[in-house]
């Protein structure tokens, strides 16, 4: 996904004079060629993440469209007040593109994990959040974000589904009657696998903010109002979206995602962390069966 991001932005820099790129060392070398062609619009600030967002806000104040990129904890958590004030309060836009996600690199430990990124941005108004599950979903989401003016978060991951799916609104991929499973981004393959013998509707979302209230409501209309959320970040991040979508429908919700009750002090691999968080195939299957 990161390669698609770099290629797409590099290509867009040549045709869109509004576009600018701001980095804080991470992935900076990937933009060396672009920087050589556009030295005023491709800026690496060094390891200065607060300045990274402040500078993006300033660029946006002059009418440029900044794309800001770093590892998720250093893009969202460390400069969070800059996101709130230098972008949101100034009423300007930017495209944030993260890598690393929740535990893409668990060997790096807790400092390099950011399962709360989407939940944090969810406390701020006006953000669009894309969680692509396949590299082919990245380019159209990114080009749409670059063409706009708003605040967009594009959450890239090393975890990928085997095929791309339609982007935009929630996509129904399977119809059933016992409930609706909403799979976000790279959780889809596992969800499709473990629900293959279950009578449930499967929805796919590569864009989780704004939450597609109509899409969920339509899916629930053809099923029992039992909703399982499967998100690759903090469990329950989108539970309030389900509640708003189904405000007038008696319903049940089960939220699966990264655990909130514990800091997992372990290194290892992403699949090993999936097990800890109940996001491996056995864990998701057990949760869905128990819920239904």
């Amino acid at each position: 996904m990161r390669d698609v991001f770099v290629h797409t932005v590099t290509d867009a820099l040549d045709t869109d004079p509004r576009l600018a790129v701001v980095t804080a060392d991470i992935s900076s070398a990937a933009f060396d060629d672009a920087r050589a062609r556009h030295p005023d619009r491709v800026v690496n600030l060094g390891i200065r993440e607060q300045a990274m967002i402040g500078v993006a806000g300033g660029l946006a104040l002059t009418g440029l469209r900044p794309v800001v990129h770093s590892y998720a904890p250093f893009l969202v958590e460390r400069p969070f007040e800059q996101l709130k004030l230098d972008l949101g309060h100034q009423d300007v836009g930017a495209v944030l593109v993260s890598i690393g996600g929740s535990y893409d690199a668990p060997a790096s430990g807790r400092t390099h994990q950011s399962p709360a990124d989407v939940a944090l941005l969810d406390t701020l108004p006006g953000w669009t959040v894309h969680v692509p599950g396949h590299p082919d979903e990245v380019e159209p989401l990114l080009r749409d974000a670059i063409a706009g003016t708003g605040r967009v978060y594009l959450r890239l991951s090393t975890r990928e589904n085997t095929t791309a799916h339609p982007i935009g609104r929630f996509s129904p991929l399977r119809q059933g009657s016992r409930g609706v499973v909403l799979a976000v981004g790279p959780t889809l393959d596992t969800v499709l696998d473990v629900t293959s013998t279950l009578d449930v509707t499967v929805l796919y979302a590569s864009t989780i903010r704004p939450f597609d209230h109509a899409g969920l409501l339509a899916a629930v209309a053809g099923s029992r109002p039992n909703v399982v959320l499967v998100e690759p970040y903090l469990a329950g991040t989108s539970a309030h979206g389900v509640g708003e979508a189904l405000a007038d429908v008696p319903h049940r919700v089960r939220s699966l995602g990264v655990r909130r009750d514990v800091e997992v002090r372990a290194y290892g691999t992403p699949p090993e962390h999936d097990v800890v968080h109940g996001l491996d195939a056995d864990g998701i299957a057990a949760s869905i069966r128990a819920f239904l």
Binding site: A20, D40, R41, V43, L45, G46, R48, Q50, A51, I53, G54, V55, A56, G57, G58, L59, A60, L61, T62, G63, L64, P66, E81, Q82, L85, D86, H89, Q90, D91
Partner: protein, 228 residues
């Protein structure tokens, strides 16, 4: 400052009551603000959206009574708005909001944000081939915030000669700045000057001094006993 102008600004400031704890902050910045808007900045009430205008960013959002008074004296604000200060529905609060007040370039209040925004603005103007300059006002106490030092360092490396930082030094920093504030900028490659923050001619000379290829820092010192 001419006595008449000082009296006019004092009269405007007196219309804003209820934030007396920041009177000192407001009193410290008033001469710098007046010199900028009266003699330096290429911006008028009719050009607040001109892409080539000069930008003034009040990073130190505390005590904006002087800022509002100068904006009112220069025609950016209706004088009667000053009487609505901090009331619900008023565009004027204890920290400025750019969305509410035409001519206010940034919303500020939480300290340590203006310099990062100023660096980005200067970069953007350079990238867009615009003529405007960027002036950022910070306080010496505000410089305690670490975010400023990310911006100070990178502005020097990037050679942002459209950027001027005005540090109003009224000795507010709890632990001071050993060696002087200008030194902090000097080591990062900035052109620096330290002047009397009440001397309008000295301020004007410092704000308009040539500094090709590097940003400028003007430390405007304020004697504490002047406002007690």
């Amino acid at each position: 400052m001419l006595a008449s102008m000082r009296n006019e600004l004092a009269g405007l400031i007196e219309r804003m009551t209820g934030d007396e704890k920041h009177d000192w902050a407001a009193g410290s910045t008033i001469d710098v603000l007046w010199v900028l808007y009266d003699r330096v900045l290429n911006v008028t009430p009719d050009t607040v959206d001109d892409p080539d205008r000069d930008r003034f960013l009040l990073s130190k959002g505390h005590g904006p009574m002087s800022y509002y008074a100068v904006l009112a004296a220069k025609g950016f604000l209706d004088h009667d708005l000053l009487d609505t200060w901090t009331s619900f529905g008023s565009p004027l609060g204890q920290h400025p909001d750019r969305v509410l007040v035409p001519g206010v370039e940034i919303g500020s209040g939480s300290l340590g944000h203006g310099l990062g925004l100023g660096v980005g603005t200067a970069l953007g103007l350079r990238a867009r081939r615009r003529r405007g300059r960027v002036f950022v006002l910070v306080g010496d106490g505000e410089l305690d915030e670490g975010s400023n030092h990310e911006a100070i360092a990178i502005a020097g490396r990037l050679g942002l000669d459209r950027l001027t930082t005005v540090v109003v030094d009224n000795s507010s920093a709890s632990h001071g700045w050993p060696g002087g504030i200008a030194r902090r900028f000097d080591v990062e490659g900035w052109h620096t000057a330290t002047v009397d923050g009440r001397d309008h001619d000295a301020l004007h000379r410092a704000f308009t001094a040539a500094h090709p290829g590097r940003p400028s820092a003007v430390v405007a010192t304020i004697e504490p006993e002047e406002y007690t």
